[in-house]
């Protein structure tokens, strides 16, 4: 009983968009796709949605091929946001819901409830073109969930949102999770991933480089991070001399060092105490996803590999 992506490959001309990708996403889980532009996140989602067909490999949901799953199984928030500009909000949301088999009365009720929740009930009768980008994004989120899908796929749902709207959307996220929905989203905002996701997959050029629960991924390197701040010695030059310790960041607030696998991070604390340092801050942690991401994917590739639609002047 899960969403199983099995050895999926997909090529667009010169570009290998997905290369033998296998993933398992548990029902009720919040799953994050991480990757630079062109890593294959959107293609992977479109294949799950059966908007695209893979060259090889299969996708199954609860043991059945995704091609046989009813369309209303899925809710989709595309990366490229678009609404019918001249149509009013209520009318088009009801239209989208009806396409997914929701009765128009029920749909209207649901729409009004969600607009209320997003604090924009007065927008029901406005045309989409009169709304700000952030509000249009909220409208699209509503469009994606009106038919109560079991799996919600969202492509960069937080991009371009101000903090207030991002918080509202996160709330809605958690609401969907509490309703037992499976949530899959792509992003390159690592903090959001650490905050919301239980599992992730880091994609690079169509391949899964790391995957699994956030905990396991962060521990997978075997390294530990230590953050230390002591009174009167901001340089802490002695730190680099310790066995298996490498300073990664020197700052006024604290100094960060990486402890190689097999070494005890506690040794750093003991060394500081034995030197008689007055310790202001000490913290042991797994590497952040951002660190792992940069380690795995390297410098963000600046060459344009993306297949995502380029902006066009409308």
């Amino acid at each position: 009983m899960s969403l199983l992506i099995d050895s999926v490959s997909k090529r667009f001309g010169e570009v290998q968009a997905l290369d033998d990708v296998s993933l398992e996403i548990e029902p009720g889980e919040v799953f994050g796709f991480l990757g630079a532009n062109g890593a294959g996140k959107t293609t992977a989602m479109r294949i799950v949605l059966d908007i695209l067909r893979p060259d090889s490999g299969t996708v199954t949901w609860n043991g059945k091929p995704n091609t046989e799953a009813p369309r209303e199984t899925w809710g989709y928030l595309p990366e490229e946001r678009g609404l019918y500009a001249k149509m009013n909000v209520l009318e088009q949301l009801v239209f989208f819901a009806r396409l997914q088999g929701v009765e128009s009365k029920a749909a209207e009720h649901e729409v009004r409830e969600w607009l209320e929740r997003f604090r924009i009930p007065e927008y029901a009768d406005r045309r989409a073109e009169q709304l700000s980008k952030g509000n249009q994004q909220k409208i699209q989120f509503i469009a994606a969930i009106l038919h109560d899908p079991q799996v919600l796929l969202m492509d960069e749902p937080f991009s371009g949102l101000d903090p207030v709207n991002a918080a509202l959307l996160k709330e809605a996220f958690l609401e969907m999770k509490s309703r037992g929905k499976t949530l899959i989203f792509s992003t390159h905002q690592m903090e959001t991933v650490e905050e919301l996701c239980e599992s992730i997959a880091i994609l690079d050029r169509g391949r899964v480089v790391v995957g699994g629960s956030v905990r396991d991924v962060r521990r997978s390197t075997g390294r530990q991070m230590v953050r230390l701040a002591v009174e009167g010695d901001p340089e802490m030059t002695w730190l680099g001399t310790l066995d298996g310790v490498r300073v990664t960041r020197r700052g006024q607030d604290y100094t960060e060092a990486e402890v190689a696998p097999g070494h005890d991070p506690g040794a750093v604390l003991r060394a500081a105490l034995s030197r008689g340092c007055e310790i202001r801050h000490f913290e042991m942690a797994d590497p952040t996803l951002e660190e792992i991401f940069i380690e795995q994917v390297g410098q963000i590739d600046t060459t344009e590999r993306t297949l995502a639609p380029k902006a066009v002047s409308a």
């Binding site: 949605l49 059966d50 695209l52 091609t67 369309r71 678009g82 239209f95 396409l99 469009a143 994606a144």
Partner: protein, 432 residues
Amino acid sequence: MKGWRTLFPNAWYVAVREYRSRVRTRSFVLGTVLLAVIAFAATQLPVLVDFAAGSSQTRLEVVSTPGMPADSLSLLSETLNGQISATAHPPFVVSWLAEGDIASAQQALENGKFDALLIVDRDPASKNLTFTLRTDLASDGPVVTSIRPAVALLALDDALARAGTSIGAVQATPLTVLPVNPSAGPANSVSREVSTDLLSTGLIVLIFMAIITYGVWVAMSVAEEKGSRVMELMLNATTPLQMLAGKVIGNGAAGLTQYGIILAAVVGGLLAQGPIHKAVLGTDAGNTFGGLDPVVLAAFVILFVLGFLMYSLLYAALGSLVSRQEDVQSATSPLMMLIIAGYVMSVFGLQAIDDTWVKIASFVPFFSPYLMLARVSMGHVEAWEFGLAVLLLVISIAVALFVAARIYSAGVLLYGQRLSLRQVLSAARVSR
């Protein structure tokens, strides 16, 4: 494939949305009103022409003399007004005063009630009619010039009456027309072909205009959806086939609505022509309605709908190839060529309706809406031929639907520069 799931109700929802958003646009409302007003005004042109002609009318009063033939008045009037007498506004208004009081007629003339007074008398010696015209119009002017042969004819008619016959009887002399070889039967009558030729051209133009105007709407609406990225949302909610069908039906219905309103304005205008004519000019207009064969009308409706469906599907497919509405025109120009080619063929085909190439082309789905209609309206077609053309058209619509859905489902996901058909076809193979 899931793409071929049941069409309804989603195609219907899409169609309703397309229809509503189309008829609500300002361009639709303004366009419809403007075209309807123009169409109505155009039907009133004859009234305007008659009204303008009214100022050049000559009022002629005739004082007769005893013993004139009974049909003298109508003979004079017909001669003066010629063929035009059938129209509502003849150049001469002739009134007749039998053996009346010349003095009072003279009085009316002086008061300006008439432009000219024609006094008829009989020469006591020769018994021939004599004519006197009292008028201030130039004696060598066009009015007097046209009255001269008319009175001569009256005199002739009178002389004939006294001889025991009449102009009418002489004019009724029969003429038998035979071809060069008399045994080949009666000569061809071309008059029927001339009138149905006009009717066919009218109906073909109606189909041509509808396809060329409203087909582009379908392409526009596809491109708009792709340009605004709503497509991305729609792709998960519907299948390409549902979208296609909905768009064609919705935009087609909106187009037909506009067409219907304009045609209603034309019909209403023609019906109102009589009353308006009477109100403005006080005379009746000639009947403008020709008979329309119900068989031709039925064939027109069938070919109109099927032809529109097929071309709209192709328009939708081509519309999916562009990312911006501005590019629709150039992307659809090959289709435009095909449509115009069909129209031009039908124009020439009407002149050679029994030629083999016309017969063959009238079965080719791209051209049959025009050419089969031409053949039907000319009455040069067998029932099975019409049935075959319709069948071929229906089959090609099914094929067009399949191909268009393929191109469409691939095309809507590809953005950027205008796509070549080759790119799309290779993409169509890998998409659902």
